[in-house]
Symmetry: D2
Subunit: 298 residues, 4 copies
Amino acid sequence: MSTTPRKIAFIGLGIMGSPMAANLVKAGHTVTGYNRSRPAIDKLVAAGGKGAGSVAEAVADAEVVITMVPADPQVEEVILGEGGVLENVQPGTLVIDMSSITPQTSIKVATAAKEKGVRTLDAPVSGGEAGAIEAVLSIMVGGAADDFADAKPVLDAMGTTVIHVGPTGAGQTVKAANQLIVAVNIQVVAEAVVFLENAGVDLPAALDVLAGGLAGSTVLNRKKANMVNREFAPGFRIDLHHKDMGIVTAAARAVEAPLPIGSLAAQLVASARANGDGPLDHSALLRGVERLAGREVN
Amino acid sequence: MSTTPRKIAFIGLGIMGSPMAANLVKAGHTVTGYNRSRPAIDKLVAAGGKGAGSVAEAVADAEVVITMVPADPQVEEVILGEGGVLENVQPGTLVIDMSSITPQTSIKVATAAKEKGVRTLDAPVSGGEAGAIEAVLSIMVGGAADDFADAKPVLDAMGTTVIHVGPTGAGQTVKAANQLIVAVNIQVVAEAVVFLENAGVDLPAALDVLAGGLAGSTVLNRKKANMVNREFAPGFRIDLHHKDMGIVTAAARAVEAPLPIGSLAAQLVASARANGDGPLDHSALLRGVERLAGREVN
Amino acid sequence: MSTTPRKIAFIGLGIMGSPMAANLVKAGHTVTGYNRSRPAIDKLVAAGGKGAGSVAEAVADAEVVITMVPADPQVEEVILGEGGVLENVQPGTLVIDMSSITPQTSIKVATAAKEKGVRTLDAPVSGGEAGAIEAVLSIMVGGAADDFADAKPVLDAMGTTVIHVGPTGAGQTVKAANQLIVAVNIQVVAEAVVFLENAGVDLPAALDVLAGGLAGSTVLNRKKANMVNREFAPGFRIDLHHKDMGIVTAAARAVEAPLPIGSLAAQLVASARANGDGPLDHSALLRGVERLAGREVN
Amino acid sequence: MSTTPRKIAFIGLGIMGSPMAANLVKAGHTVTGYNRSRPAIDKLVAAGGKGAGSVAEAVADAEVVITMVPADPQVEEVILGEGGVLENVQPGTLVIDMSSITPQTSIKVATAAKEKGVRTLDAPVSGGEAGAIEAVLSIMVGGAADDFADAKPVLDAMGTTVIHVGPTGAGQTVKAANQLIVAVNIQVVAEAVVFLENAGVDLPAALDVLAGGLAGSTVLNRKKANMVNREFAPGFRIDLHHKDMGIVTAAARAVEAPLPIGSLAAQLVASARANGDGPLDHSALLRGVERLAGREVN
């Protein structure tokens, strides 16, 4: 890929951010990384990037700033807070927040940035750690069309599906919708599994037929084995999905969109977590259905 | 396909049964059809089959009897009733009921048949009219392994995925699970659509991203356009899905399988029907979400 | 109470039927009882009634027949079956079925009875064993106004609130609505209890305030102590409430009435039963909420 | 009532605050009121109170400060904001917030107050405008026992049920639980009403029986006529109940309490509002059930 090399600051070198930043280096960009803990920075340096001792240092002469942090408070702190991105970048800089947060916070950040002449995009991802490492993430981008066009070559280094879905916040909205659908699709497969087992059906055979018809889904394909074998090593943790269900229910409420099924799914995800299943893969929603069915689960 | 030609009676030549029987003729079988209304029989005769004036006549010297009728009462009438299949077939005949009914009725039929030395399979299908015409149905079969082996070459003439999923009733159970998953997958996509629209997102772009990730599903692929364009010509009618949700909720209750999400979906399907959407494609569950959102729907 | 003494046959002398029949004796009626097991008949005889060896014998010269049996199949057997009520009563007899069953079965019974010139009422009760013993039941009656007027003095011997609520089946419909409301009222109090406890609130004080305001209910008054003390001796068993939730969800489906909350409550009642709580009082729905909250329940 | 007269500042003289302040005057207290709009202040002065031109002026020499404002942001502004209560009261002052807000905000306020040596109670009410006028409110109080004892004589001038339910935030938690139960109790009665009507039952007779048994509730008693007559003048507006459902779902999520039924009720309240029913009494949840049932509602 022969894209113009850019000076990129990357804030947040966690499980996702670390391989994403490395892929930017591979694509020829100059990447200066900052992370709260030092080892993550060293890893980026080893991969050919640069390290910074603070957000301020990382963004000092960046053309593009990417943030990839856990949740709304960290986004606010890193971008809007004291010593944060907005205090330290030049007007015209493009700030791409790739964290999964509420659309409301994305809008808040964009508004504050605009006052300083700083451009923003919200660009959350799906595809997990594997997708980040292999640079095959789906990236859903909200913001101005011009800014999206500017960011596209940079984002292409991290994902294969990079789509502009609307104005500021739209990326987060689509990510929220993604998590909504995934949770519900898992939950209904889990309900089907317990139903099929209680009825004495050959489960693997049944799931194969189901996967081949209108009931088929990526969830069914990817999580079928987890459910059949009760193997719930993550994958994507219920703890994180619980956070995301909080985002989608709040965001839907804010725009007066009804989620009769979705809000019930959010309760069941929360219940899974309350039962100690937070660290497991989200396919472990099956365990919640089993509990409702009176089965021993352990 | 060089399978042994069989003498097959086919009872119920409706939208599904008619092309299924025609495909059996094409595969080289001798097919004698019976239907309540005459034109359907004439159509089979035109396709190379034979017509019968009664169930008794149709099954008189059949080796295999296939029934494809609307619901439980018709299955009971046609197989168990006066002048029905059991009264008129020889011991050893294989009766394959391909209707979508409750597992309980399949078991009742099988029990009555066994007393007369008649073998049965429940073998409901998915794939709709198009799948029936093109002989690419999924067929989920419950019953004895021997009987499945005997039926397999016959069923292969009508479908591409023909799978033995367990004992008597298991075919119906899997079909019920299929309809459960489909209804919920449609419903959650509908909730997502209204959420995305209310939030001002570019819907087609968003659905494309969603379809490409873990939220992807056959429902999303096939029904996306229906939802974006509000085009709800069936397809599979809500009226029929309502019948099926009745089957799955009853069957799950009978085996003590919890359906927290599924039972709510059943209510929403019923509500769609109560609002006059029964004749529309099941993707019209979107209209119910729009009503909950306070939109004019017409 | 000076009502005309009647010749009454009472079929079904269980936990409810036994004290109800005894109260009819006390009111001056001639009561001939029949029950499958003998000791219940002996008890009625000891209370001043008569015993019969069969349904036929019990109803032979009865003016009024009362049936009080567990569920739909028993009602059909006792009234419509061989050797049952309809085969053995005179035209003009009034048959009052006080069992809790589906409105559909009440209509089926009434239709069959009418063909023989026999009059029927459906008259299910609420108030439990205590209400039966103290003759303070609520009795909701469906059927013709004339027949209600005829039955009223008889029913008054067993209850304090005896109300004609509509045509055949209406009594059962109201009973079903009663059970629907009760289940949901218990469930929401249970959700509130876990919420209050998790939040560190003084539960008894809180429930006292709640009972005094718009959140107040008979459920809260009567079941508060059960919940605070986790004392779940019945009372009204979850097993029976599960049966009743089956009736109300089926009956609502039949008349196209949506039960979004009600159908979810039915699932939670079923889940309680699947978890072994069937023999407990229905206030034990609290245990299901506790399980969802990840608490040890035992 | 011979209680020690206190110097009370009353901030927020709306529909509820105005009669509450007047009742404090009647009880012999010196009440200085402040409200954003002047006429409310004049009304208090006419009732024997004093008026202030600012929060600062109102609280200047108050021993007790009462706040009664619409929602969390107003509480934060009035108590924590610039020119607000905390900036202007003496250490030792008792601040009683009687607004209905999240427990989280109550805790935030209490924490900030404590740093200045100011004592706080959260003391939301139920009983509506009528209860406020007649001084028969239920008041659920969270905070320290000593502070409750200090406040009790003051609160007794406004309500008849004044109960200490736990530490800071507990008052709000109980209020939230109250609104949860009320919403669900209304919703299930609404579901029962449509079911009874669709089944052809005599609705007023049926509701009378239901009210007399275990299904009885304050909701049924008070809202029965609204539902039968479709008279939905508030009363308590759906708009406000929607706000409260937001509080209870958030608060329950924060303490990991599952609300399977409650969260669905929250969706239905939100849907009522999205359908334009926000200004109606919350018994108008019936209209939502009617819409689900396919009825014309207008």
